[in-house]
Symmetry: C2
Subunit: 441 residues, 2 copies
Amino acid sequence: MKEKNIKIGLCGFGVVGQGVYSQLSGKKAYLQEQLGANLEVVRIAVRDLNKTRDVSVGSSLLTTDPMAIANDPTIDILCELMGGQGVALEVTLAALRSGKVLVTANKALLCDHGAEIFAAAAEGGGHVLFEASVAGGIPVIKAINEGLIINNFSSIYGILNGTCNYILTRMTNEGLSYQEILSQAKTLGYAEADESLDVDGIDATHKAVILAYLAHGRWVPFENVLVQGVTAVTQDDIAFAKENGYAIKLIAVIDRIQDNGKLYVSVLPTLVSKKYSLGTVDGVFNAISIHGDVVGETVYIGPGAGRNATSSAVIADVVDASKHLIYRCSETRFPFLDPAPRNGAEVELAEPAEIHSRYYVRLLVMDQPGVMAEIASILASHEVSLASVSQKEVNEDAAKASLIITTHMTTEQAIFDAVVDLEALASVEEKPFCMPIGAFK
Amino acid sequence: MKEKNIKIGLCGFGVVGQGVYSQLSGKKAYLQEQLGANLEVVRIAVRDLNKTRDVSVGSSLLTTDPMAIANDPTIDILCELMGGQGVALEVTLAALRSGKVLVTANKALLCDHGAEIFAAAAEGGGHVLFEASVAGGIPVIKAINEGLIINNFSSIYGILNGTCNYILTRMTNEGLSYQEILSQAKTLGYAEADESLDVDGIDATHKAVILAYLAHGRWVPFENVLVQGVTAVTQDDIAFAKENGYAIKLIAVIDRIQDNGKLYVSVLPTLVSKKYSLGTVDGVFNAISIHGDVVGETVYIGPGAGRNATSSAVIADVVDASKHLIYRCSETRFPFLDPAPRNGAEVELAEPAEIHSRYYVRLLVMDQPGVMAEIASILASHEVSLASVSQKEVNEDAAKASLIITTHMTTEQAIFDAVVDLEALASVEEKPFCMPIGAFK
């Protein structure tokens, strides 16, 4: 085996960038043994040259210009760990067009510009590796792409955002409100100062879109994903879940409709049976359940974020890429670094009328005669059939009640339409809160 | 990409062999699209040419001589799906010495002859791929070898035998004895006619030895693994587990002792907290928890056996090998098809005096004065400290009692020695049953 240097550039030197650098330095000898080659970080793009960091590096390595790394022909692998969109997209496209391997943890960028990014790779001879973009340290991209290659994926369910799972877990265990837990989570560093990317389900949606592409070959536009975050979940919902053997989880669903093969992607708070594996994954952990037509169900659980977990995934990609760079015959592209081709560009997206589920609906209603009749009649008019109803007083003075309804199987369209009509009732006080009751096998 | 044929020989055409053949045939076009190459099964070794099978193949493909496949220079990949040792070893070594890729599900063979098999591969230019040998359809070999490559593995815990887990789960849920569940399991096809490989923990040990090699680079001799199956577990143990928030699982432990780095491998019935992920994995499912120094804990759950799950893993290996066969530059060996080198050949094995755990001990004792004093004094003499004691009558006439003791932290050596002394007491009726209380993080 010929000795070789693989030259790596890091764009972004925050938590993850420093983690990757530390691991590559700390385990240099081990990696050399693994590869018979030397992995060398030759350039690091930072925002501020003078900032004090936990990890110290020679100032000669630093630059404030990430494009200098993207355009440096001596660099083999560029790790894009800046996040964001503008500069990150420029750097990504430039690196791929010049034939580099791009290792990225930037799920937002992949979600919004996936097709463009993979086209740039194909055109320029580069490759995109993105294990760290979904579920942190869990090697789930590799599982879908390689370990489960013979499978078609009828459904994938995921707990893909650790902050949401942490908040829901603490709401369940401690009986505190969403707002109380959120402020504590911010203090403890489990939630960002601007929490909206997490708690509104946006981050989980980015990851769901990537999983959908991997499994089915189609980039689903963000706006075609039905997304609701965890901000509207209350202790009434938690209490219902507990009493009925459920946990509330923010679940990403990537489903092929059984009848017609159409693709459905959503990210919604969901009632998950405590008997189902995903119902027991608590705290900041992520989990993905994958149903393959050959293997059946396999489930992957682990840390979905954090410096070290993410570094573990970034370095797995760096090592995979290095193996190919060391052994490739010529300058030809090695197609097996790309996601396994799934010819789903033409897969149709399912309409809400094609999505079947049971639902949970919570309404704040005036506690007065006739209200239940009105509500029941609206549900009936949408052919939504009641499975259970329970009402409890919220506040005696205000004469309001919290009304919780579960339905039999119906369609997403029917429940949407019913909720719109319910909200319009004079006796209904707030926007009703609605979530699917997961029928996970 | 040049069109190419990859020629595959199947040795063994039982449940798994037929599953692999069906999937390769049924998804031929898809695989061709994936690889830009054609995967072709060109020869199948069977025991009986005239047997009627679920999957029909042209008789021209069949041979009764597996060595003819191993020695056929036109065959690229040999899938050894016969099982057993004699012929399987011959075929395996011949295939590897002639530079073929060997894909195997034969955990017993790898456990007993791993060093010889990998040496034959290195010598002859062949490769050994064995995803299907551990945990069936769960791509856990790939996770350890590639996805978690930067990690050192401080501990791996596994539920690696579906039959044992099925029996323990039904004993827990239905209150029936081991013998009752076993006979039902045999009728239902969940246990082999000769169940001893499964229920005595031998199959799980084969898999644990393979995981230990992968994670630490040393083939631990079978006789160095402390193994106890599930046959001695009774409803007394199940009742204790339930009352105290545990499940009983047959757990494989692959551990590096924190103080001295020595390697410890065992397969034992174990009390596992129901709050821990492995405590909730029931039925025929397998699960593996892997602690990496960088990533933290990741957990993998799925079907550990069965025609389709095993086929999914075998085909993943076939596809991985094919990628390399299609793209390799010359006849050179591609080292990255081999397990990631972990230079652990010299890792010392831990002694029982170095293994620390809490233990559960169940004794059948004469219900008479002084017995408890004798037992307590023996435990004290081995410096085993009692955490709890409970006694209940077994049979009033016989004046016997079931005595259940839990200990504080002690060593495996101390508990062994204490149990030997306890068994020698006149007031102790049977061999005491002992299992660790898992301190899984």
